[in-house]
Amino acid sequence: MKNTEAQPKKVSLRLNPLSMHVNPDLFVPASEEEKQELVVIRAGTSLWKDAMRRFRKNKFAMVALALIIILILFAFVGPLLSQYDYDQFNPGQEDQAPNWTHPFGTDRFGRDLLVRNMYGARISLSIGIIAAALTLVIGSLYGSISGFVGGRTDNIMMRVIDVIYSLPDLLVVILLSATLKEPLEKMLESSVAFSGISELGPAFFSMLIVFALMYWGTMARIVRGEVLRIKEQEYVLAARALGANSGRIIRKHVLPNCIGPIIVTTTLQIPSAIFTESFLSFIGLGISAPLASLGSMVTDALQGVYSYPTRVVFPSVIIALIILAFNTVGDALRDVLDPRMKK
């Protein structure tokens, strides 16, 4: 930053310093150049620029972000580059250890495990991202209505969340995904409208429904808290005094100020959904054959774990990497966007 108290350099010392005689040089209008020197050089930064700058400084977060990009490429571009398909049996190539034609080996049907891992990662990532988007929409709508309306409505809406919270969530998730599977299966088979997506199987959608039903509470609570807090801020009062209507206040003051926590919560929702998906698939209630999910691949490989340990290792490590990468980025975003949330 420039020194704003620029010294008047042109003061002539020829005069007696004690003399009351005024030096006219001091009163010459400043030149353009001198004016420029007084301007603070640093450009103003917005919240986002500042956040990005601090985010980039976090080495762990940058590595994790790179990892996420690699994993997304692995999951969505990878299968296109391979000559095998995830459900393609390759007779004569069963039970191979990792080698040059099949880098991750093959399973007992001769299916290429690299491609299956890629598909598994694709399903896990898709479920994670869609589930996070669903909780984002449901949670923030619910939370902002509750916070903005306030009063008795707010009270009742929050009690509903309390009840959902007091239920043991994974037990309910297991029950729901077990019960939703069959009705959805019928629906997908019977309706032509779903023919394009029916190959994803009923488990994929039942899991999304489960997430949409069970996991929006956290988001709703956070958004409600933010809305309540912001509503009482002085700048909102000032805006109101200046004649701004509710719409403008929501758009200009409430939303921009609670976007940070919303982004952070959404990012952290992704790994938690991926965890639940792989857990459900692992215990046999999620994605099942012929589709590949990382969790169900671990289960399938467990049968032959003593002969082919690598089959278990690849999907396990990929699950751990996905969750780790998203958690790290989420934590870094929280540090950057919402320091108050930091414990």
Binding site: D162, V163, S166, L167, P168, D169, L170, L171, V172, I174, L175, L176, A178, T179, E182, P183, K186, P271, F275, S278, F279, F282, I283, G284, L285, V298, L302, V305, Y306, P309, V312, V313, S316, I319, A320, I323, L324, N327, T328, K343
Partner: protein, 304 residues
Amino acid sequence: MLKYGLKRIFAAILAVIILITATFFLMHMVPGSPFLSERMTEKVKANLEKKYGLDKPLTTQYLIYVENLLQGDMGTSLQKKGRSVTGIIEEKFPYSAKLGVFAILLAISVGIPLGALAAIKHEKLIDRLVMLFTTIFISVPGFVFGTLLLVIFCAILKIAPATWTDSPANYVLPVISLSFYPICYITKLTRSSMLETLGQDYIKTAHAKGLSSFAVHFKHALKNSAIPVISYVGPLTAFLITGTFAVEKLFSVPGLGRFFVDSVSNRDYPVIMGTTIFLGCIMVLMNLLVDFVYGMVDPRIKLR
């Protein structure tokens, strides 16, 4: 205090009622019958449904179920014929409970000292290492960690028992994989709470009056830092119960968790409902207990 306590108890009872009702109706919403897999004539099927009361209207079935439940009768298993659900829970639950209790003990006895050590050596190498490892490993799901343990110790090194013989050696790997996540979590929790405590004035006073740093750290600081850990015991119980679903399957433990998962895929209604209600009650009860203990241990926390 009394008002708060009653409110909490009321909420807990409400949660249990909702759980029972939701479980019942969800289970009966599923199309298909539990006898679907067996080959039988329509007549035999109708008789079986009559025997188990499946032919009555749903609400009547519900009322009968709740009435029996209040008398401690959860019905009989449809798959394991003639076995009462209560009997199955009695037989299977001890294995899961043992795993859970050992896992809690391990998590607390490793997590708290490790977190305290990291806080005392704040910003030193040991703190950095502890933080690095807990941050990385907190993202590894328990069943993934268990799978890797299984691969390393059973498949490659072959030093762990491969089959279940109910020996103490059988409990080692399941307990470690169950307590793995809680260890990381408790370590982080203790560290951050201990760091906060170490900045308090009474710690300075203790140092100033010449107490040894051991006495300051362990008598004054640790005692107060361990309080947040108590609040984690509620979620921890829920975590361990669901954790057993995967871990018991992984290490072929004949516990309730594995049995529950199997009965969900077999659609054994009475077992699913009985187990859900049983496990759900444990979780709700633990949360309630934790709330009360927390209020007692730390009087600053006013029970609202």
